[in-house]
C-alpha cells in the first residue's frame, strides 16, 4: 500500500492506517449478529419455498402442519388478504413496475425458492419439520428457462402484462448510427456473455420482529443497507405510520449490494409478529440463501466498435440483454442501467449507443452486486479492445492510452440514459497516471517478454485494463454529533455498516473535524432509524462521500456551538475560542481551558447533499499461466491501482480492494448458478457453487492513490468500495487470451472454467490442424 500525496499537517487521523475499531469485538467473539439475539416468548419462522419454477397454485392445505406439536401458525397469501408487492427503490419506470414481486406467492409461482407459506413454531427445527406437512398442489406450467425463449413471448410469466420484456434502457452519446460505423476504417463486432452469479455474503440474512401492541409499533432487528427506505416500504405495507416502524441494525457479515434490500421476508416476519403478538425470528439458511437472495450479472452483449487505423475509437454500439429472473426487485434494473451508462468505460468515444433489454425468466430475481453492470461491461469492452488492437497491430497498452479520457476533457459526460433521463459526468482525474503506475508496479515491460510463451508446459500471458467506478450517490446523508456527559462524542449516522468499516472511518473523520483525539468519539451509531430523522444508507460506494462530508458539516456546527457556549462562560468573543485537544481554550493571556464535558448536551445535525456522482478510476494487470492439458489457469500476479480522490484509511481501503479483486476472480473463474431446462437450480449448495477461498488466489497487490480529489465535495472523496471488482473479468480473460494467442483462443464467455477453456483449446487446435 502506498500513497503519493504528502502527509497532511492539519489532520491526524484521516489518511492514517488506523486499525479497525470493529475488529476487537469481532476477533474476541463479541460481535452481535441478528442470529445471536434471543428475546422472551420468541417464536421461529421457516419458509416453504416453491420447488416448481413456474406454475399455478391450485390449493394449499396447511391443516396437518398447523396441527403439529409446537406449531403456532401457517401463513399463506390467503391470510394476508391483499398481497402487497415490493416497491422499486431505483429506476422505477412505469413499464418496469408491472413486474414487482408479491411478498408471498399469490396464485402463481415463478421461480424455485419463491415463498409460498410461512410456518411459525416453537423452534426453527419444528418449523422446518412442519414445512413437509403442508400440501401444495401446483399445476406446472411450461418453464421460461432462458433469455432466448423468454423473448419469444410464447409463454408469458405475467399474463396481464403480456410480455416477458419489462423494458429496454438506452444510453446515448453522440450519434453511433450506421453512418458512423460504415465510414470507419476499422470495425469489429463480437458477442459476449457473463454468467449468473451473486454476492453470497458470508452471513445469511436474519430478522427478529417484535410487535408492541400497546403502542401499535413494530421493531425489526436485522435491518441494514437501507433501513430508512425499508421502513417506508414496510410502514406502507403494514398500514402503519413510518414513526411506528423501528429498524435496528446489528453487526452484518457482508452486504455487497444484496443484503439489506427489501425482500419478501422483510414483510412476512413482521406480519407474523403482529398476527401472533409474539416476537418472531427467522434466520436464513444457506440453501434458501442461494435461491432467495438476489442473483446478479446474468447478461449477454452484442458489442461493436469502430476506430481509426491507429486505434483511435470513433464509435461503440451494443445491444445487451440481462436476465433479471422472475420479478423486478428493488434495484433489479440497476445493473442494466449501468451497462447502458458505462459500457464505454473511461474512454473518449465520441459516438455511443447502448440498448439494454431486461428479460423475465423463471429464475431467482436479480439485484445489485458490487460493481453492478460494470463488471459485466468491462469484461465485454476490454476483451473487444484486445481483439481490435491485435487486428490493427496496435500495442494493447497504446490502444488504451490513446483512448483514455484526458484530464483536460473533464468533466466528461457519460452517455445519457434516455428512459430514466439520467445524466452524469466524470468529475476529475488523470487516467494515464493510474495506468502508468499499474504498468510500473506490474513490471509490464519485463513481463511482456514472457507473454505468449510456453514455459514448463504452461502458456504464460499478461493483460491490463482500465475502469471507472461510479460512487457517492445522492441525494444526501444526515448525521448528528452530540457531546456526552463524560465529554465524549457520540456520532449518529444515517449510513449503514455492512462490514466495510464505517465505524472506524467515520470516527477518523469526526475526530479530525472536531480536533479531538479519536478515543473521544466513543460511539458511532449507524443504520438504525432511531438515530437520525432520515438516513439514506450504504450502497453505491457512498458512505464516505455522503456520510463523511455530512460529518464535516455537523462538526463545523458543533464547534460553533461549543465556541459560543465557551465565549459566554469566559466573557469573550466566540471567535477568540480555540478548540484544541478536546478543550475549549479562551484568549491570551489567561488561556482558560474548559473541558468538553462542560458542554454535555450540545449537539449538531449535519447534512451533505449532492446530485452528482463521483468517479474513481484505475487500472488492473494480471499475469497468468494456463495449463492447456487441463484448462487450469494459475494467477501468478495481480496488480490493482486506483485513485479514490481522498484516502481516509489506507488499511480498510486496501482490504476492500483485495476482497473485491478476489470476489471478481470468483466471478471470472468459479461462481456459476446453473439452471436446467425446468428452472431447477443445479448449483444450489457450496459443494457445487464454488466460492473463492483464502488460499485460491494469494497473489494480489493493491495500490491506492489520491492524486485527483473530487471537486464535488469538501473532502475530495470518491467512492472506493467497488473498484476492485469491476475490471477483473476482462483483465484475466485478456491475460488468458494473450497466453493462448498462438492457438487463437478468444474467451467470449465467463466463467473461465477449466472444462470450458480446455474445450476452446481443443477447438482451436482442431481448426489449426484443418488449415
Amino acid at each position: 500500500m502506498s500513497t503519493t500525496a504528502p502527509k497532511r499537517a492539519s489532520n491526524l487521523f484521516v489518511g492514517s492506517p488506523i486499525e479497525r475499531l470493529e475488529d476487537l469485538r469481532f476477533l474476541t467473539g463479541r460481535g452481535q449478529y441478528v442470529d445471536d439475539l434471543a428475546v422472551e416468548n420468541m417464536l421461529h419462522a421457516a419458509i416453504l419455498r416453491s420447488s416448481v419454477a413456474h406454475g399455478r397454485i391450485l390449493s394449499i392445505d396447511s391443516s396437518a402442519a398447523r396441527a403439529r406439536r409446537g406449531v403456532h401458525a401457517v401463513i399463506t397469501a390467503a391470510d394476508i388478504g391483499t398481497v402487497p408487492t415490493i416497491p422499486l427503490r431505483h429506476d422505477p419506470t412505469p413499464a418496469i413496475r408491472r413486474f414487482e414481486q408479491p411478498v408471498i406467492a399469490d396464485g402463481k409461482v415463478r421461480y424455485v425458492g419463491e415463498p409460498i407459506a410461512v410456518v411459525i413454531a416453537e423452534s426453527a427445527a419444528l418449523a422446518e419439520d412442519a414445512l413437509e406437512a403442508i400440501a401444495v398442489d401446483i399445476e406446472a406450467l411450461r418453464v421460461v428457462a432462458d433469455r432466448e425463449f423468454a423473448r419469444k413471448d410464447d409463454i408469458i410469466l405475467f399474463e396481464t402484462v403480456g410480455t416477458n420484456v419489462p423494458d429496454t434502457i438506452t444510453a446515448v452519446r453522440g450519434k453511433a448510427d450506421d453512418a458512423a460505423f460504415n465510414s470507419a476504417p476499422y470495425r469489429r463486432r463480437e458477442h459476449f456473455s457473463v454468467q449468473r452469479h451473486a454476492a453470497v455474503p458470508m452471513e445469511p440474512r436474519g430478522l427478529l420482529a417484535e410487535w408492541d401492541d400497546a403502542n401499535a409499533r413494530i421493531t425489526v432487528r436485522g435491518a441494514c443497507k437501507v433501513p430508512f427506505t425499508n421502513r417506508r416500504a414496510l410502514a406502507q405495507m403494514m398500514n402503519l405510520p413510518e414513526a411506528s416502524v423501528r429498524m435496528v441494525e446489528y453487526d452484518v457479515g457482508g452486504g455487497f449490494g444484496a443484503r439489506g434490500e427489501f425482500y419478501p421476508e422483510d414483510f412476512l416476519i413482521p406480519f407474523a409478529a403482529r398476527l401472533l403478538g409474539r416476537p418472531v425470528k427467522w434466520t436464513e439458511d444457506r440453501r434458501e440463501n442461494l435461491t432467495a437472495l438476489n442473483h446478479a450479472r446474468d447478461m449477454e452483449c452484442d458489442l461493436e466498435i469502430a476506430c481509426a487505423r491507429d486505434g483511435a475509437l470513433i464509435a461503440l454500439r451494443a445491444h445487451a440483454c440481462t436476465d433479471i429472473g422472475a420479478y423486478v426487485r428493488t434495484n433489479g434494473a440497476t445493473a442494466a442501467r449501468n451497462i447502458a451508462q458505462v459500457l464505454a468505460g473511461p474512454y473518449r468515444i465520441p459516438h455511443v449507443r447502448v440498448d439494454v433489454s431486461l428479460v423475465i425468466t423463471n429464475k431467482t430475481p436479480v439485484g445489485t452486486y458490487r460493481g453492478p453492470g460494470r463488471f459485466e461491461s468491462d469484461f465485454c469492452r476490454e476483451r473487444l479492445f484486445d481483439m481490435a488492437a491485435a487486428d490493427l497491430g496496435v500495442d494493447r497498452v497504446e490502444f488504451r492510452r490513446r483512448n483514455l479520457i484526458r484530464e483536460a476533457d473533464m468533466p466528461y459526460p457519460l452517455p445519457k440514459v434516455q428512459v430514466l433521463d439520467i445524466e452524469s459526468e466524470c468529475d476529475s482525474g488523470d487516467y494515464q497516471i493510474t495506468l502508468d503506475r499499474c504498468l510500473a508496479e506490474f513490471k509490464w515491460a519485463e513481463r511482456a517478454k514472457l507473454n505468449g510463451k510456453l514455459i514448463d508446459g504452461r502458456h504464460h500471458g499478461i493483460a491490463v485494463g482500465c475502469y471507472l467506478e461510479g460512487g457517492g450517490t445522492g441525494p444526501r446523508e444526515n448525521v448528528r454529533l452530540a457531546v456526552e456527559a463524560d465529554g465524549s462524542i457520540s456520532l449518529f449516522v444515517g449510513s449503514s455498516s455492512v462490514g466495510q468499516g464505517v465505524e472506524t472511518v467515520f470516527a477518523q473523520i469526526a475526530a479530525d473535524a472536531l480536533e479531538v483525539p479519536m478515543e473521544r468519539i466513543n460511539r458511532v451509531l449507524h443504520g438504525s432509524t432511531d438515530y437520525v430523522a432520515q438516513g439514506f444508507g450504504s450502497f453505491s460506494s457512498r458512505s464516505i462521500v455522503m456520510g463523511g462530508n455530512a460529518i464535516g458539516d455537523a462538526a463545523q456546527k458543533l464547534r460553533t456551538l461549543i465556541r459560543e457556549a465557551a465565549a459566554k462562560r469566559l466573557q469573550c468573543q466566540a471567535s477568540d475560542i480555540v478548540i484544541d485537544r478536546g478543550m475549549a481554550v479562551g484568549p491570551a493571556p489567561a488561556r482558560a481551558a474548559i473541558a468538553l464535558k462542560e458542554f454535555a448536551g450540545l449537539c449538531a445535525d449535519g447534512t451533505f447533499a449532492s446530485a452528482k456522482r463521483t468517479y474513481s478510476y484505475g487500472a488492473h494487470a494480471a499475469y497468468v499461466a494456463v495449463d492447456a492439458k487441463t484448462g487450469h489457469v494459475e494467477l501468478i500476479d495481480y496488480v490493482a491501482v486506483e485513485d479514490v480522490g481522498r484516502i481516509v484509511n489506507p488499511l480498510t481501503l486496501h482490504g476492500q480492494c483485495i476482497g473485491a479483486v478476489v470476489q471478481g476472480l470468483g466471478g471470472a473463474f468459479l461462481e456459476h448458478f446453473i439452471y436446467d431446462e425446468n428452472g431447477q437450480l443445479l448449483t444450489g449448495s457450496f459443494a457445487d457453487y464454488l466460492m473463492p477461498t483464502a488460499s485460491d488466489f494469494p497473489q494480489i497487490r493493491a495500490v491506492a492513490l489520491e492524486d485527483k480529489p473530487s471537486p464535488l465535495n469538501p473532502m475530495g472523496a470518491k467512492g472506493a468500495g467497488e473498484g476492485g471488482i469491476i475490471p477483473v473479468g476482462g483483465v484475466v480473460a485478456n491475460a488468458v487470451a494473450a497466453a493462448l494467442g498462438s492457438l487463437g483462443v478468444e474467451p467470449r464467455d465467463l466463467p473461465l472454467s477449466p472444462p470450458r477453456l480446455w474445450q476452446m483449446i481443443q477447438a482451436a487446435r482442431a481448426t489449426c490442424a484443418a488449415r
Binding site: E128, R287, D456, T630, I674, L690, P754, P755, W758
Partner: protein, 288 residues
C-alpha cells in the same frame, strides 16, 4: 437446514452397533465422522430413524502395520493417517492420496470407514482401495466377512454392505520399499472432490516395470482399475513413448458422463493427463 428428527445411540462395541442396526431394519444409520451424513441430514436427503454414533467404539480406531500389510480401523480419521510417521514409508501412496482429502477441518473429523461406506465415485480412499486391491472387513448380524475392494463399490453411494453391517477395517497389502508410485488429482479448488485423479504404482525388475496398478477416480460411477493402461507399461522401461501410450490407454478405457461441472469428453482427456503425470512422478521424469 435443521436436522430432521431422529433417535440417537452411542454404543461402545461393534456387537452393540450391529444389534442396533439389525433391530431397526434399514432405518438406522451409523454415524462415523459425519462429514457426508450430517450435510445429507441437513438437506433432508437422509432421514434415518436412528443414528448410531461410532465415536466410542474403541475397537475401530487402530492403525496396524504388520508383515501382511496395513490395517486401518474404520474410525481412523484422516488426520491420524497423516500424523502417523510409520505410514509415510509403509504406504506412501495412501499418504499422497489422503493429502488431497478435503480441508483441514474435514480431515480432523472424516474417517476411512465413513468414506468407504459413503462411496463417492470421486473420493480418494475408495480409489486407493481399488488400486491396491484392498480387502474390506465388515461385520453384521450374520457375522464377519471380508469383501474385495473391486466387489465392494457397486455404484455412486452404493456398496456391498448390508443394512445391518458396518465396516470394521480396511486392509491394504504390504507395500515393498522400492515400489514406484504416483498420485495426481485435478479439482476446481484445493480440497474439492476430484474432477479426475489417478493413483498408480509399479515394481521394477531389471529396469522393467511389472505389477502395474493404475486406478482412476471421478470418471465413472465407482473407482476403476485401468487394465489397458497397466498393460501399456508392464514389461517396459518407462519413457516418453510408454507414457504417451499409457495416457492414451487410460483415456480410451473410460467413458464418463456429462455433468454440470464438466463434459464427459473433458474428464476422459483429463484422466489420461492425470495418469501421464502420475507416471512421470513415479518414474522421476520431468514434464515436457
Amino acid at each position: 437446514m435443521k436436522l430432521p428428527p431422529f433417535d440417537y445411540a452411542c454404543p461402545t462395541s461393534v456387537s452393540e452397533v450391529v444389534a442396533l442396526l439389525a433391530a431397526h431394519d434399514g432405518e438406522a444409520k451409523p454415524l462415523a465422522g459425519g462429514q457426508s451424513l450430517v450435510p445429507m441430514l441437513a438437506f433432508r436427503v437422509a432421514l434415518p430413524s436412528l443414528l448410531v454414533d461410532l465415536r466410542k467404539v474403541a475397537e475401530l480406531r487402530h492403525i496396524k502395520i504388520t508383515n501382511e500389510g496395513i490395517a486401518l480401523g474404520a474410525m481412523v480419521r484422516w488426520r491420524e493417517i497423516l500424523d502417523d510417521a510409520r505410514l509415510r514409508t509403509a504406504h506412501p501412496l495412501l499418504i499422497a492420496a489422503v493429502a488431497h482429502v478435503a480441508h483441514y477441518q474435514i480431515r480432523n473429523r472424516g474417517t476411512v470407514g465413513g468414506s468407504m461406506a459413503h462411496a463417492d465415485p470421486a473420493a480418494e480412499l475408495p480409489g486407493i482401495a481399488v488400486t491396491c486391491e484392498a480387502k474390506i472387513a465388515v461385520t453384521g448380524k450374520a457375522g464377519a466377512r471380508v469383501i474385495a475392494a473391486a466387489d465392494f463399490f457397486q455404484g455412486p453411494l452404493t456398496t456391498a454392505l448390508q443394512s445391518d453391517e458396518i465396516i470394521t477395517e480396511i486392509r491394504l497389502p504390504l507395500w515393498p520399499a522400492k515400489r514406484r508410485f504416483g498420485f495426481q488429482e485435478f479439482a476446481r479448488r484445493r480440497g474439492d472432490f476430484a474432477m479426475a485423479a489417478a493413483a498408480l504404482f509399479y515394481d521394477e525388475d531389471g529396469g522393467k516395470a511389472r505389477n502395474a496398478h493404475i486406478g482412476a477416480i471421478g470418471v465413472a460411477d465407482r473407482p476403476l482399475r485401468l487394465k489397458a493402461a497397466e498393460d501399456a507399461i508392464n514389461g517396459t522401461s518407462i519413457d516418453e513413448a510408454v507414457i504417451a501410450k499409457a495416457e492414451a490407454a487410460a483415456s480410451a478405457s473410460v467413458d464418463p458422463a456429462d455433468d454440470i461441472h464438466a463434459s464427459g469428453a473433458y474428464r476422459k482427456a483429463l484422466i489420461g493427463v492425470m495418469v501421464e503425470r502420475a507416471l512421470r512422478d513415479a518414474a522421476g521424469l520431468k514434464t515436457t
